[in-house]
Subunit: 333 residues, 2 copies
């Protein structure tokens, strides 16, 4: 294992120290329990939006804390769920009196711990709603998931829902919006190489030099099929087809197309995929009106990519375009 | 070789198509010769700022074309200099009547071809100044370089000089500013793994599973030393020390600290490095007043990192903070 780390058990703590030193204008880092809030949290009268999950997917979620996106993120150990006390303390820290939304990726540990934090927060009188993201069309159940996994759509949901909270919408409206986003967005990914969890010190899975894993999870969970590596065009087709077919998109629909690096795949290859993905989307009658291209939800150093398609409407477009000021996503301000 | 590409010879063209489809609001892509300009080029009365070099370092340079940064970028084949006709046509396309600055990384091919383009542009009556970036303290000469290589400082220079051009400063002032930036910024990098040039199909260099290359170039050129992999803290010290010692920084100096991924190193590790780099900078009496952390000047999928330190003053701070709107760097707008 070659990594730029000190002791595997210190990686997340040292990362948090780095974030604290780098972005004091954007965030405040809390320790024991660990969580990151907006520098100005709680924002009075605004719904707080929280997410969290295992570390190793950076910039998600800590890099998305700030104006117009998340109010807090709870980082677990690498690829491990955060604990209920992290989520509870984060919920309390960002409650500005209008309630708190939990955005939960569909992994059993995350769902269980967020549910526990939700119950504890409610006991303390905080209004909490939780929305589970399960956009990965690759497999029905997976290593750490009953039902579909939550992947790339999480990034888009955090941006859109964060903008809605910034506008002053109510907790009920924001939770409904998050469910709507989850209902009309789908993703699928693939890997050329495995990731290496620092504490494990070896690749999560073995992948021969000429093979790829199609439908891989963001922790290296098995996908749909292992096969010989194909061309970028063929791979893009293999990702786009199940995504587009999963929701009955109609010809003429406007979509946001998100091409994501799993970490080790460089930007040059993402653009190669993007131009083919646009061609496929257009052939299906979809109009790509927005895009996001880069490493936003990663799996440590895994080489590979994922594609997310989200059906847009005027409200979603307005929220997507709204100003955002975080370490990992910023525009309009 | 596992990459998300089609034919190696089509990678750059397909990347350009992807950029064209993704960012029509920011840029215009020109073909044969290939170059990328701001969507609104030429900007009348403004100095045009151009850079270019081999592809494979994305988002540099194409991702830095837009308001407040570059007016044009000329991408060569992967790790190959662009040709003089690319640079000449780009120069003509962005000349708004106030002249054009060429930002040239110090590689023999880039320097030679930019010089030829400069002469041709002058023959056509365009005022051109060229500034060579040579910030890499690792080695004196290198595989494709006489003198120091141009690396991470290029990104910072493009931002700062682009902001100055946006302000309406003259070509002479902007060229002097670029030389000043080059004079007070230094960088050094290291690699845990090699990159793989698509056309070559195999790693540029061999690095045993337990070794690293300290002082590596952005094309995998040899550095200062090959040695057993050390901890992130030790590696950060090995990069920071030569950088800080190369220019006589004074205690109390304000600096921008840039921790860059070579491509395959994930963000979590960059923050681990950042927190140690800040500690080292502070021990040397330097005050880190700005930072940049992420993959900005990459070497395809190479795992590794580089550190750049730039001494700041009020003018540089103002220019760094000025609005920028590009695919790869954006704030304030």
């Amino acid at each position: 294992m070659k990594k730029l780390i000190n002791k595997p058990e210190d990686v997340v703590l040292e990362e948090l120290k780095g974030i604290e030193l780098a972005h004091p204008d954007l965030v405040k880092v809390h320790y024991a329990p660990d969580f990151i809030t907006r520098a100005d949290a709680p924002v009075k009268g605004k719904v707080g939006v929280i997410s969290g999950g295992g570390s190793g997917h950076e910039p998600m979620h800590g890099g998305f804390v700030g104006m117009g996106m998340l109010d807090a993120a709870c980082p677990g150990a690498v690829f491990s769920s955060p604990t209920p006390d992290q989520m509870l303390e984060a919920t309390k820290a960002v409650d500005g009196g209008a309630g708190v939304l939990h955005i939960v990726k569909n992994y059993t540990g995350d769902v269980m711990n967020f549910k526990m934090a939700e119950d504890l927060a409610k006991d303390e009188g905080i209004d909490v709603e939780a929305v589970v993201v399960d956009d990965d069309v690759a497999v029905k159940d997976s290593t750490w998931t009953a039902g579909r996994r939550g992947v790339g759509l999480t990034v888009l949901m955090e941006k859109i829902v964060g903008a809605a909270a910034e506008e002053g919408r109510s907790l009920k409206e924001i939770a409904d919006l998050a469910r709507k986003v989850n209902g009309q967005g789908r993703s699928m990914g693939m890997a050329l190489t495995s990731c290496i969890v620092p504490a494990a010190g070896k690749p999560t899975f073995d992948l021969p030099e000429d093979e790829m894993e199609v439908g891989v999870g963001i922790h290296g969970e098995p996908g749909r099929a292992r096969m010989k590596v194909k061309t970028a065009d063929e791979i893009t087709e293999m990702l786009m087809k199940p995504v587009i077919e999963d929701i009955p998109f109609k010809s003429g629909d406007k979509v946001l197309l998100f091409v994501n690096s799993m970490g080790g795949t460089p930007l040059i290859e993402l653009y190669v995929i993007y131009q083919k993905a646009v061609e496929i989307a257009e052939k299906a009658g979809l109009k790509v009106v927005r895009n996001l291209i880069g490493p936003y939800i990663t799996s440590l150093e895994m080489a590979g990519a994922s594609i997310t398609v989200l059906k847009m409407d005027d409200d979603l477009l307005k929220l997507w375009d709204a100003p955002v000021k975080t370490a990992g996503m910023r525009w309009g301000i």
